[in-house]
């Protein structure tokens, strides 16, 4: 198989559209982004009743938390100092019941919150996945798979922290704070105001911290993204690294990126370690104030000892939520960043959309017409196809030939409406492809991709891919027609053989045969065949040729052709060059014309 006119790489069509996959990058590092929060709150709506219940439980929890020190005060003042043994037992029972109630309330609250949180996570993931299925190839061609996977898995997980624990804990802590302030003011105005003198200072420190932390934590995210990216590249390129003996260089490079990440983390954390002790210090400062002035007041008989003890307990509790909030700061920040990415993805509008009035596509006969079609992958890029007009009759096999980058793959992409033409129209049986429902269109089109992509899973799963309901018999019949049956049953597990990563346990030719079987099983009226260019041995080659012949029979086929045999037997050859169809006709006619095709052919055999 020496003859090959023009080849296209699997991802080459939209290659110019690839410039902007600089993503996974950083966000402004906000701690609160109303757009993200409001979008995510939508996911809470179905669980509002559960959330209300959780909120109720939290209210109970907060009030019981506040009640406990008060009971302590009563215990000391009313019973211990008065020597009331019976009263002491009674109040102890009350305190114990309070704690039991606290247990039940906390448990209910946490249970409800995490249930709702996980449910939402599952729902967001479900919606994201569905959305990804609807996004056009234009999106998928320009986005790195690993990054998108991380959107669905990691970013969504961070949102959970925001919604389930974050918001509710935030509200809960705020309530406790307010509650404590009120109770303290109520118990002893003067002492309370004295204790609160530290508050402005605390606010100042908090503002300082959040400003610094925003920057520092953003750096940790950027740097860890580089670690992931670097390692992913090394894994993907490990064979080349070894072949060129560059293990040491890549190790040094990785180590450098890794080091930056380490330092960024330490930097960010060092802020926390200034902030947390500072808050604690202020807590103790408040305690000291209470102790000093309160102590004097007790001596002078202005307040009871019980009030002082309770006050001390409240002051301690006051600073706990503040510290908690600062711990949550980082969580919140990454949740916001994650949320932003998720919302951005959810809001990406598919470039190719069903029109509202899109009709069902009837069973097609297979006529394809291009009417003055021009196409570019993105508005700012040059045209890939210019004014292409083409008529394919039902059942015809059309071979597209031409140099790399001529626009052959784009023609295939437009028939399947993976992209929309910039001008002109693509019609199937006289119907504009934009006027019918995409999935119904796709269902009648079969594809044999150039790179013979197979999914992980068994061989049978892969053949059955386009028709999951197909029986084992049907799968086998398809495999037999595709000349794949024999090699499959020669495998130890036959049809149940699992495809390894990169389909490495199948040869290139075998992968092609499985792809052909997959297309045969769906019995499409229109077939787009991007001929593989990898060389296979003569035996497999003849098996593939034979399988392709059977596959093409009675169907309309557009073949991005590299094999001479395919080209020769085509009903129509279109020579594509520089975005235009420069010649069309049958092999002999074109040879006789002595044009571009003849030149290409001659060069190959000269």
């Amino acid at each position: 198989m020496g003859f090959s006119i023009g080849v296209s790489g699997p991802g080459m069509g939209p290659r110019n559209a690839m410039e902007t996959f600089a993503e996974g990058g950083d966000t402004r590092g906000q701690v609160y982004n109303p757009r993200v929060v409001s979008r995510m709150l939508v996911y809470l709506r179905p669980y509002l009743n559960l959330m209300a219940l959780a909120f109720l439980a939290m209210l109970v929890e907060s009030s019981l938390t506040l009640l406990a020190p008060y009971l302590l005060k009563v215990t000391v003042d009313t019973y211990i100092t008065q020597g009331d043994q019976a009263g002491l037992i009674r109040i102890s029972m009350w305190t114990a019941s309070t704690f039991l109630g606290l247990y039940l309330a906390t448990r209910t609250e946490q249970y409800l919150l995490s249930m709702v949180g996980q449910r939402m996570l599952a729902n967001i993931r479900r919606d994201l996945f569905r959305h990804l299925q609807n996004l056009s190839l234009g999106y998928h061609d320009t986005h790195i798979v690993g990054v998108t996977v991380s959107r669905v898995m990691n970013d969504v997980a961070t949102i959970n922290d925001l919604l389930s624990s974050g918001i509710i804990t935030l509200i809960g802590d705020m309530l406790v704070l307010v509650g404590i302030i009120v109770v303290m003011l109520f118990m002893n105005l003067k002492l309370a105001l004295l204790a609160f003198t530290v508050l402005p200072l605390m606010l100042l420190v908090t503002v300082w911290f959040s400003r610094r932390a925003r920057v520092a934590f953003r750096e940790t995210r950027t740097s860890v993204a580089k670690v992931v990216g670097g390692l992913a590249e090394d894994i993907a390129g490990v064979r080349v690294i070894q072949a060129f003996g560059q293990e040491n260089t890549t190790q040094e490079n990785f180590s450098a990126v890794n080091q930056v990440n380490r330092n960024a983390n330490i930097n960010a954390m060092s802020l926390s370690f200034i902030f947390l002790p500072a808050i604690e210090f202020m807590g103790i400062l408040a305690t000291a104030i209470v102790l000093y002035f309160g102590g004097r007041a007790v001596s002078s008989g202005e307040v009871t000892l019980g009030v002082l003890v309770a006050f001390l307990s409240y002051v301690t509790r006051f600073f706990q939520p503040v510290q908690e909030l600062s711990r949550m700061f980082t969580t919140l920040q990454s949740a916001m960043a994650g949320g932003e990415q998720v919302v951005k993805l959810l809001d990406t509008v598919p470039e190719v959309l069903d029109q509202p009035e899109a009709i069902d596509l009837p069973q097609v006969k297979g006529g394809i017409r291009f009417e003055n079609v021009s196409f570019r992958y993105r508005p700012e890029l040059p045209d890939v196809l210019r004014n292409v007009s083409l008529e394919i009759k039902p059942g015809q096999t059309v071979a597209l030939v031409g140099p790399t980058g001529a626009g052959k793959t784009s023609i295939g992409n437009l028939i399947a409406r993976f992209y929309d033409a910039s001008s002109g129209a693509v019609l199937i049986d006289g119907l504009d492809v934009r006027s019918v429902k995409q999935r119904q269109l796709h269902r009648q089109i079969g594809l044999v991709p150039q790179d013979s992509f197979l999914f992980s899973g068994t061989i049978a799963d892969n053949i059955r891919f386009g028709r999951p309901e197909a029986t084992d018999d049907e799968v086998e019949t398809a495999a037999k027609l595709a000349n794949a049956h024999e090699f499959i049953i020669a495998k130890p597990d036959g049809y149940r053989t699992r495809i390894q990563e990169g389909a490495s346990n199948l040869s290139v030719g075998q992968r092609q045969l499985v792809c052909i079987a997959r297309a045969i099983l769906t019995d499409p009226r229109i077939l787009i065949l991007d001929e593989a260019t990898s060389n296979v041995d003569s035996l497999t080659e003849s098996l593939i040729q034979d399988a392709l012949r059977k596959l093409l029979e009675g169907r309309t086929a557009v073949v991005i052709a590299h094999r001479l045999s395919t080209i020769r037997s085509a009903d129509l050859i279109c020579v594509v060059d520089n975005g235009q169809i420069v010649e069309q006709g049958r092999h002999e006619e074109l040879l006789a014309q002595g044009g571009v095709y003849a030149a290409l052919y001659q060069r190959q055999f000269a």
Binding site: R15, Q242, Q246, Q251, I266, Y292, Q510
Partner: protein, 601 residues
Amino acid sequence: MCSFSKFCGKKLIAMNPTEETQSQHSSQTTIIMRCFSYLRPHWKFVAGVYSSMLLIDLIAMVNPQLIRWTIDQGIAKGDNSLLAMAVGALLVLVTIKGVLTYFEGIWTETASQSVAFDLRNALQRKITELSFSFHDKAEAGDLLSRAIQDVERIRFLTGRAIFRIIESVVLMTLTAGMMIWMNPRLGLLAMVSMPLLIFRSITFGRVYRPLSLQIQKQLSVLTTRVEQNLRGMRVVKTFAQEESEIQRFNVQNQQWYDLSAQSARMQANNMPLLNLIANVSSVIILLYGGTLVINQQLTLGELVAFTTYVAQIVTPVRYLGMVLPMITVAGVAGERIFEILDTAPLVRDEPGAPDLTLEGGEVAFEKVSFAYGKQAGVLKDISFVAQPNQVIALLGTTGSGKTSVVNLIPRFYDPTAGRITIDGTDIRAVSLNSLRGQIGMVLQETTLFAASIRENISFGKPDATQAEIESAARDAQAHEFIMQMPDGYDTKVGERGRTLSGGQKQRLAIARALLTDPRILILDDATSSVDSETEHLIQVALERVMRGRTTFVIAHRLSTVHAADLILVLDKGRIVARGRHEELLKSSPLYGSIYQQQLKK
């Protein structure tokens, strides 16, 4: 610290529910200890951390005594100067504590971040060194998640987690000591809840561990589903299988939810229950202590100090409840990490292997057999000699073993029998780097890195000059298209070269191989995805660069075969015919048929 983690590990062993997991769990302690061994190089930080911690804990012991003193001596007796002194002392202590907390935090973070740093470096090193046979089976996503998430768990374990545990134990011990010292009976009463709390924490871990393992697994199943779907999006779309893909995803997603909900239920109960136990025990102390105060066997100040201690003892227990389950999670993470680190590359240097010194570049196969893992033999009894500067063409059906033959030369795999020599030296006796440094390869699948074109071409020789790079690019017919790119040689090629066409990628790969000026050149399907014009150009260029090198070509072109000094025809892992073109045409019917079908046309 050791006593505690050992104790914890043993408990974990006792917990395992089935025989099958027994052996796995019995190494849990070892795994955890091994995680900690990564702290050793950073022992100075660790020492600093625990010294600070001890001081902080001592301060925590003194604080309640200060309060007691204040109440009993200052307030009760109305001594205001004493009150002022006590308050002042409190502030001094907390300032010291704050400073210590800062250093303790920074050092903990530095030590544990360094562990993560070391582990990631080690993993990356190992991954780049493991032989092809490992990478044939490994999934990239799985390797990544081990290096990122699992390492993160170990970082947590060696940082905050173990610190919390040790601090908790120290604080509990000190507090218990103080309480018993102050009032033995009341102290012992306060301790009654401890065993209950610890028991509770451990039983929780026993149930929680297998569940969290399952969740981790399910998450990776989910990840794989998404990844596969995205990679095959073109296929998904043309076969209009979006809905069934969604269904499949939803099934796995629901399974993940069910497991997580179960875990949420367990966790929701755990902490509040620990708090309840601790709180109720403090009520008991108040009740009993209050009675003592009423009977004037205890001062009020002592009682207040006591309740403060009880509050102090509750916090560590809460931390234990939080952190202990994470140890088990980290243990699983450690297992996954060490699994990779402990994989020995099948192909590796003999200790003290000398560098390969090449004279001519004669490559000889002596009765070489080869198989991938347990599969049937791929190569059987291959023997041939490639004289220096010869061009060897390999021909044969798919699966006949052509690629395997060339993969053995740079030792991507080792033969199962027989040996390969270069200039008479067994290639297993020399260092891998020196061997591979002499071999230039263009692999069947072109892999480029997300870097500039320049960096990609100079990959095998990072110090190459611009002139050298350009000359290699010219030889590979790549210079022209590179110059047409917006940034020329500085153009970034994107992840795995996705911004380039197949033909362009291949030409860059050829340039990359030529730049190292190898003595031995291996071209595996080097021109498969270029159009015929470019192919012709590359062929011409290759014919020139093959001169003066021993070259192996997996051949598909007539011209190559014509030019070859030796053609090896492979069939089912054996050499079935060898010779030059004309000889083979006469002697080998298989060659004849391949010639007819594959080459001549």
